[in-house]
Symmetry: C2
DNA sequence: GAATAAATATGAGTGTACTCATAAATGATC
DNA sequence: GATCATTTATGAGTACACTCATATTTATTC
């Protein structure tokens, strides 16, 4: 990989030498290489110490090409993070007994996320970082896709729990998704802030979660359309 | 102001012409000018369309000097925003009758914040934007001060309500602060996202707030030290 | 296989937040 | 008022995310 990039850089434009240019490879392959490069570099050097140049180089593409596949550097992060987050939560859920109450199931998943966060900060911070998109009104579309990812991951959990009849039918998935994300977020702040210890945080979290789930009303008038994206993943 | 800056730019280094250079002014004056310049420009052009060069020019200082008074462009935003947010919440609270239940008082304050947000988006977005600090571990100190601001503002509200005996003594202020901030945050996402209408959001908010306040347990073992910063503002 | 159109790739170029070596001002001591 | 030390100011310079005019490949039609 590195060698290929170097060769390219040394030779300048390859025109007649290699009949197999990089363009015979299809878009998916290229995207895969980009994401792999990003994942490796983010994990090795951290997000802010990784430059888009480096990612492009490692993926063996031009600088500009990178931005045909991702709208921004942060876009790359969320793409990489998405898979890991969903995988983490689903792996955690698989270990939980079906008899466990829903609140505890969610706690397990959340615990796994937290553990993952501790293990691999540079990637996990993507979620928080990406939120900055909110500050830029031109990029609402990105926010929507971010939320779709989050709802998708959390929605899967809820849907799974629902299939085991541990949750009331008709519960507004979106609402729970929001609450869980919000709790995750708020907890993170307090935690990083150093003002709340881990056990305290987890205790509070448990309380809030129980409240959120046991106390929620099902909004009967609303069709709850936005949440459908989450449940349509595997139905 | 503009003229002064222009004159400076035209002449280059002013050495003998004006015996009253800018250095006779003390730091506070300079900071005030910087914040005023930032406030005006952010409001007029928006955050991202305002350059640090412009702010420096309007404040009649060098580019580098700006960064002696604020660690970053976003730092300026949070400084400007802090005052307005606290003022907004306190003004709102002043209009509420003492007989109003605490949940409704909070709702009033929150409504004022939302109204403010609608009225002056560029500044209000600072709060969300500043959260990006979390992504940079070198700036934990900044996060702490941000949270102190938020707790301070919300803490004042709670403290005030508490003085009117509409809230149980011993209620964990920090917890409520977290919850309110989290709710604000989550609501904002859904709102900007266009997936939740304003009335729906406010209805949900009311439900959640009631839950947070009526359902919370007071953690008796904890001294609740972090919340003290909020109440020490005026005691 | 020539000609044309459409899609995709490229990297030098651009804008801007932030830095840093240098300079100026201020204060202290004699 | 000369000398040194400390604080504060400066703007040209730097680094890096992202753009855009141009080039290259692929697809299509004859």
């Amino acid at each position: 990989m590195k060698q290929a990039a170097k060769a390219r850089a040394a030779k300048g434009k390859v025109e007649t030498a290699s009949p197999l240019g990089r363009r015979e490879r299809n878009k998916q392959e290229k995207l895969d290489r980009i994401l792999a490069a990003a994942r490796e570099l983010f994990a090795a050097k951290g997000f802010s110490d990784t430059t888009t140049q480096e990612i492009a180089e490692r993926a063996d593409i031009g600088t500009g090409t990178l931005f045909l596949y991702a709208k921004s550097k942060e876009d790359l992060l969320i793409m990489v993070f998405k898979d890991e987050m969903i995988e983490t939560s689903q792996t955690a859920l698989r270990k939980v007994s079906p008899d466990t109450p829903i609140a505890d199931q969610l706690m397990q998943v959340f615990g796994a996320m937290v553990a993952y966060h501790n293990r691999d900060l540079p990637l996990a911070r993507a979620l928080i970082r990406e939120i900055t998109i909110l500050a830029n009104p031109d990029r609402r579309e990105d926010v929507r896709s971010l939320m779709r990812i989050i709802y998708s991951g959390i929605g899967d959990i809820i849907a799974s729990a629902h299939a085991r009849e541990k949750i009331r039918p008709g519960l507004d998935l979106l609402l729970v998704g929001e609450a869980l994300f919000g709790i995750y977020y708020v907890g993170l702040i307090g935690w990083l802030n150093g003002q709340v210890t881990k056990p305290t945080f987890l205790k509070r979290l448990r309380t809030k979660l129980a409240l959120s789930i046991d106390g929620l009303r099902v909004p009967s008038a609303e069709p709850a359309a936005p949440a459908r994206a989450a449940s349509s993943r595997k139905s």
